[in-house]
């Protein structure tokens, strides 16, 4: 869940048409028209990536007159499926997946059940990745995988490239090689299992 208070605005006169903003927008809210970037205001959730990386500082963030909140709510009949998807992905439904917006696993699962099939659509529906946009791409991909969905990265974009390994997939050979150096892989696997099993929410 995220409360949106700002919107990105592009100064067309300054825009050099590099397209970087479009390549790194997590909700696909920016597209190129001719050689200028354009913001689809209906999709901008103000993560600020464009503002932070534009090489000519052509993007400003302007305050919204009417802030709004994005969230996905689990409907009663979805509860069981939400729980199952979170657990399959290795998350407790009540745990936080996005540290900036405090979006929880159950909310991401609800968004997927309600039709989100890509990380971009999850972000748009829940606010996940709408803070730093860095730390929660893997949970989004893991949740989609648990739902049986294999998304493809936006063509030509830098939004994300792929799912990466999880702790449970590290081979015994690698673990044996490095355990003695302070990497407590098996203990952390047990910790994750305990969190997933917890009935607290």
């Amino acid at each position: 869940m995220k409360t949106i208070t700002l919107k990105a605005r592009i100064n067309s006169a300054r825009c050099i048409g590099c397209g970087n903003c479009a390549k790194m927008c997590p909700t696909l809210a920016i597209f190129m028209k001719g050689k200028k970037a354009v913001v689809d205001e209906g999709r901008c959730l103000a993560c600020a990536n464009c503002h932070q990386r534009c090489p000519v500082e052509a993007v400003t963030l302007e305050k919204l007159d009417k802030p709004f909140t994005v969230r996905a709510v689990t409907r009663d009949f979805e509860r069981e499926a939400v729980e199952a998807m979170c657990i399959k992905a290795g998350f407790n439904p009540g745990q936080i997946l996005c540290y900036c917006t405090a979006t929880r696993a159950e909310e991401v699962a609800a968004a997927i059940i309600q039709g989100a099939e890509t990380p971009e659509e999850i972000s748009f529906r829940t606010g996940l990745r709408m803070g730093c946009s860095v730390e929660c791409i893997q949970p989004a991909l893991r949740m989609l995988e648990a739902a049986g969905i294999t998304p493809t990265p936006p063509e030509g974009g830098w939004q994300w490239y792929g799912r990466t390994p999880v702790l449970q997939e590290i081979s015994q050979e690698v673990k044996s090689k490095y355990n003695h150096r302070g990497f407590y892989f098996d203990s952390d696997i047990a910790l994750f299992a305990e969190v997933v099993k917890s009935e607290r929410r």
């Binding site: 946009s133 702790l167 302070g182």
Partner: protein, 479 residues
């Protein structure tokens, strides 16, 4: 004995914080404030080369000397080199020592190899323009030459890196040279994340890495396996084929104690693991003995990264637990811990609370640009000035920070309220004071009283345990 307060680190011009002119009073100026020097608490603290009798040129001298043992023969005159840096170094003692080390590494490469295509690639945390600000502020753009100094961010174009645990991703611009030089520092800083396991390797999984990799670190590999992300990348054939050497600003809580350099990053890492546990272990354990206090944030960094005695606020928030002890899975604060807070509290009984000694936090000067609502939600927080509250409100990573904090008109009214509400006169200030710590007289007394016992416990019991947990024989390491 009562020392005057140490002059705190100056506010810095940055888009992530209020303008320096709006920081009208520093906590060190409050009545009743004093300081305790680290060398006074722990006479076995290593001597600092900076700050000290010499100016920052002392760092150049030490860098040149450290690089003498490094082989640069692999670098040809017609080749390219990326000196890879991180924002963190610029937060240490105002940033000048780190900037000087970077300049010196550049000059030594040119002098010794004839290579002239030497670039700077400076990574960031979550403030994607932060190193651009430092590059300009320290004139590194002019020093490296037009277009050769560049700030890089985890959302920039990436490249896949095949590792022994699968595909991870680096920032393309970090690796777009024939050779890379890893220019970092040994300050322990985020012990809650890396747990002083492979500390020297961490930037390969963080400031040189793409979002996929950083998310792997903070979501996939667990609180004690996280830093393996960095080792996996560094150990990859791709990175090994480009790695030339590492140069580290050697830090301790007293300041810069030297420069270390090596072609073998693992050897440097082993030295740093021992030194980090030894130099930071005592002060971090001592801060865990503080029974009650008001913590004042007063430094140009995001909330968790403000410094006192070389220890960041995030670590003080977890000082009720032993962050170096790998038998403890979850510190009171780390992102895995934060993840495991459900809507109704911790998901596990075993999750420790945030340091209950922090009765109140006064946010006199700290930046946004890092998700910090965890702190204001759990520690009663007063933010000084509406401008600072507005900085947090506009920050996409901190939309909820002010939902849990109150605004005070100025530092004096904040402190008055904090004293009245908390009932304690103990104050600790995270203001980057060099060589010591600014505290109230009452807290100074407590630190002096507890320091010897903590020192004995660390030397005799904790340090050997921490080293053993990291595969280092204490007898060999400590003699």
């Amino acid at each position: 004995m009562s020392n005057p307060p140490i002059i705190p680190a100056l506010p810095r011009v940055s888009q992530y914080g209020v303008a320096p002119g709006q920081v009208t009073k520093r906590a060190a100026e409050l009545p009743g404030m004093t300081s305790v020097m680290l060398a006074e608490l722990y006479p076995d603290s290593p001597p600092a080369i900076y700050p000290g009798a010499e100016d920052v040129s002392v760092v150049r001298k030490h860098t040149v000397s450290a690089l003498k043992k490094v082989n640069m023969d692999m670098i040809g005159p017609e080749q390219s080199v990326n000196i890879c840096a991180s924002h963190h170094g610029f937060t240490l003692l105002g940033g000048a020592p780190y900037a000087e080390m970077l300049r010196t590494v550049r000059d030594e490469i040119e002098n010794r190899t004839g290579c002239r295509n030497i670039r700077l690639r400076a990574g960031v945390g979550l403030r994607f323009r932060e190193t651009e600000e430092y590059i300009k502020s320290f004139g590194l753009d002019a020093y490296f030459g037009k277009g050769k100094a560049k700030g890089v961010a985890p959302i920039d174009e990436g490249i896949p890196i095949e590792t022994e645990i699968g595909t991870l991703y680096g920032i393309k611009a970090v690796y777009d040279a024939d050779w890379i030089v890893h220019a970092h520092n040994s300050d322990v800083r985020e012990v809650h994340f890396h747990r002083q396991v492979d500390r020297a390797v961490k930037p390969f999984g963080m400031s040189y890495a793409r979002i996929e990799t950083r998310s792997t670190y903070h979501q996939n590999l667990g609180p004690r396996g996280a830093n393996f992300t960095a080792r996996a990348i560094f150990a990859s054939d791709f990175v090994q084929s480009k790695f030339a050497f590492a140069a580290f600003l050697d830090m301790s809580p007293v300041g810069v104690i030297g420069v270390d350099a090596d072609n073998d990053l693992y050897a440097l890492n082993d030295r740093l693991t021992i030194a980090g546990c030894r130099h930071y272990g005592k002060i971090m354990t001592l801060l865990g003995e503080v029974d009650e206090c008001i913590a004042v944030l007063d430094f140009p960094c995001p909330v968790p990264y403000v410094f006192a005695a070389g220890v960041i606020y995030a670590n003080f928030a977890g000082a009720n637990t032993d962050l170096f002890d790998l038998d403890m899975a979850l510190p009171a604060y780390t992102w895995y811990t934060e993840a495991f807070y459900g809507r109704n509290g911790p998901l596990l009984e075993s999750i420790p609370p945030v340091n209950p000694a922090i009765k109140m936090c006064v946010h006199n000067y700290a930046w946004g640009g890092y998700p910090s609502a965890f702190f204001s939600e759990r520690i009663p927080t007063l933010v000084v000035g509406g401008e600072q509250a507005a900085v947090m409100d506009r920050d996409s990573q901190n939309v909820e920070y002010m939902a849990h904090a109150m605004i005070a008109k100025n530092l004096d009214s904040a402190m008055h309220f904090a004293h009245a509400a908390s009932g304690t006169d103990k104050i600790i200030v995270f203001d980057g004071a060099a060589g010591g710590i600014n505290v109230s007289t009452s807290l100074a007394g407590l630190l002096r009283e507890k320091a010897p016992g903590v020192g004995r416990r660390v030397d005799g019991e904790l340090l050997p345990k921490w080293l053993r947990q990291r595969g280092i024989d204490p007898m060999t390491a400590l003699g």
